[in-house]
Amino acid sequence: MAAPRWITRLRPKPLGLRARITLAFALGAALLSIVLASTTYVVTRGTLVRQREAVLLRQAYLNANQTIDAFGTNGGNILTRLQNLPLAGSKPVVVYQGRTTPIDPDVGLDAIPVELRNRAATGVPARMRFRLDGKPWLGVAIPIPGSNAVYYELTNLAELNKTLRSLAAVLVGASLLTTASGILLGMWASGRAVRPLAQAARAAEAIAGGRLDTRLEPVDDPDLRALTNAFNAMASALEMRVERDARFASDVSHELRSPLMTLSASAEVLQSRRDELPERAAVALDLLVGDVARFQGLVGDLLEISRFDAGAVHLNLEELLVGEFVANAVRASDAGEGVPVEVDDDAADSIIRADKRRLAQVVANLLDNARFYGGGATAVTVSLPEGPSPESVLIAVEDAGPGVPPEERHLIFERFARGTGAGRRSTTEGAGLGLALVTEHVRLHRGRVWVEDRTDGTPGARFVIELPVTE
């Protein structure tokens, strides 16, 4: 059975560079602090326990010695003697001739581990750590020489454990703090590390946006210098290439324009004498004149789009009243004759910064498109998008044609694309570059263009240009 496709989606996304650097710093800091904290804890605990045991041992010997004296005088006086010993929390127990004398009735013979008693029975001093009621204790056994008595001193080590626990808490806290610092340091370092990349990305975006003279600032860092130099070399090569293409386009432009110039001027001379021509020649002349105009338009569009590709198009921006502009643009276009312009009141005085001629070309191209594929535009509307404070204005060209199927709505803005249904109707009309040029022009004006169904429910296409308005 084939693996279901969603499995691939469960694979974790590879982390970004910044995240990886930060993670590395965090892990490093965590590891380091854990090792340091553990070592500190182990060493400190060892030292503390040893010191405490040494103190207790010394004290036990002293106390045992004092107790020995008591044996010399009066065995019955042992309890009093025990009570007078400097004990510091220890619980002495003396076992003598099967008699147990505990100072604390709770800590008697039963409390002393059998093992310790056995070791004391061999006659040598012994010590042992053990647990009593779940608490750690230290037991010291000192057999008293010259008798079979054993002096035991039992000490609760809970105090020491409490100290160790707070030490552990402090160390864990410090580790967490160190890890957190590691994360912060990692974020800062990764930010610094990727900053040149972000700058390169911004520069690349600027170049993609047409500002071909964008370069990265030279840096001293030898690691980054390679990137900077390579990037700048690439940008220079690209700029040179674009310039060469632009020159090529302008050379081609001159080469194509000259014969077209001759053709159109000659055709016009002939046309002014059309009445003098025989019938068949006049028909041929009409074909010639019509196609010279088409050829001219096609060459113009081709050159225009090649200039867009070369990034050689510069806008001649001025502030325009959108309502007035659209009315004029529709009036000036061939396909706009008789098309009503409907300008919403709140949109009429919106001001756009635009290249008048280029934007008029956009409107003319949309009107041409409506004529070729939609049976002619039915209206051109100017309105504001919905919303409280619109920052753009919508110019829409509507027709009453078959509309554009959703799956073709992106394709028709491609070069030489034609709607499938509409293409049949006029196989000879339209260069197929009109909408591609619209896209380029609108993009250069920082706007958007799209096609949708007519909003009033009537069948037909609605081509919308959205342009930013200026304050």
Binding site: A265, E268, L315, E319, F325
Partner: protein, 227 residues
């Protein structure tokens, strides 16, 4: 003798076709295939309009334009390859009155030429004997402009532009209205025509063109003549 037009174009086929089309308008057409030839032809006979392709062998269109401007105020139409290159502004600054981009329809060319001819014969303020604006004086009927007692050499378009502004001193004229009144353009006329001509006019009518006292820019609106 009718209107004489000098066309300067190195492509013989274009030159011939344009000549045929312009002759259909009833004008006399002189031809030159280079800047040097154009200067010779210009010196030979009085010319009403010069059409210059900026791509010329030898001395180029800009150079030719400046050379003609030194000796004449004749209306000049430049033919450029592209509308959005600096060629247009450079051509206007070299002294051209108007421009066309190639390939243009001959009908469009004749329309431009007619506008230039009209411009050179009929200023708007004819009838006034003389108009004074401080040290600046305009004598419409004689086509004369005097600054501080010294007569200025304005081109016909500059003179017409100044007269339009002088027809309503102090009133702000938008670029569009000046394009319409001086050049005969509709809404889609090129505002750079006005801007460059105002700049050129200022170098003549202003004592300090950087701080104009007569032709004032009204930001975002247009220009006015200080009354």
């Amino acid at each position: 003798m009718g209107t004489r037009i000098l066309t300067v174009e190195d492509d013989e086929r274009i030159r011939t076709a344009v000549k045929l089309a312009l002759e259909d308008e009833g004008w006399t057409v002189e031809e030159a295939d280079s800047g040097e030839g154009a200067l010779l032809a210009f010196g030979r006979a009085p010319t009403d309009v010069v059409l210059i392709d900026i791509m010329l062998p030898g001395i180029d269109g800009f150079e030719l334009c400046r050379a003609i401007r030194r000796i004449s105020d004749v209306p000049i139409v430049m033919v450029t390859a592209r509308i959005d290159t600096h060629d247009v502004v450079a051509g206007l600054e070299a002294g051209a009155d108007d421009y066309l981009t190639k390939p243009f329809a001959p009908k469009e060319l004749s329309a431009r030429i007619r506008a230039l001819l009209r411009r050179s014969t009929r200023p708007n303020v004819a009838g006034h004997a003389r108009l004074g604006f401080g040290d600046l004086e305009i004598v419409p009927d004689e086509g004369k402009v005097v600054l501080a007692g010294r007569e200025l050499a304005l081109t016909k378009t500059e003179f017409r532009l100044l007269c339009e502004l002088a027809s309503a001193p102090g009133k702000v004229f938008s670029r569009e209205s000046l394009l319409d009144r001086v050049w005969g353009y509709d809404y889609f006329g090129d505002g750079r025509l006005v801007d460059v001509h105002v700049r050129r006019l200022r170098t003549k009518v202003e004592v300090d063109p950087a701080n104009p006292r007569h032709v004032i820019t009204v930001r975002g609106l247009g220009y006015r003549l200080q009354s």
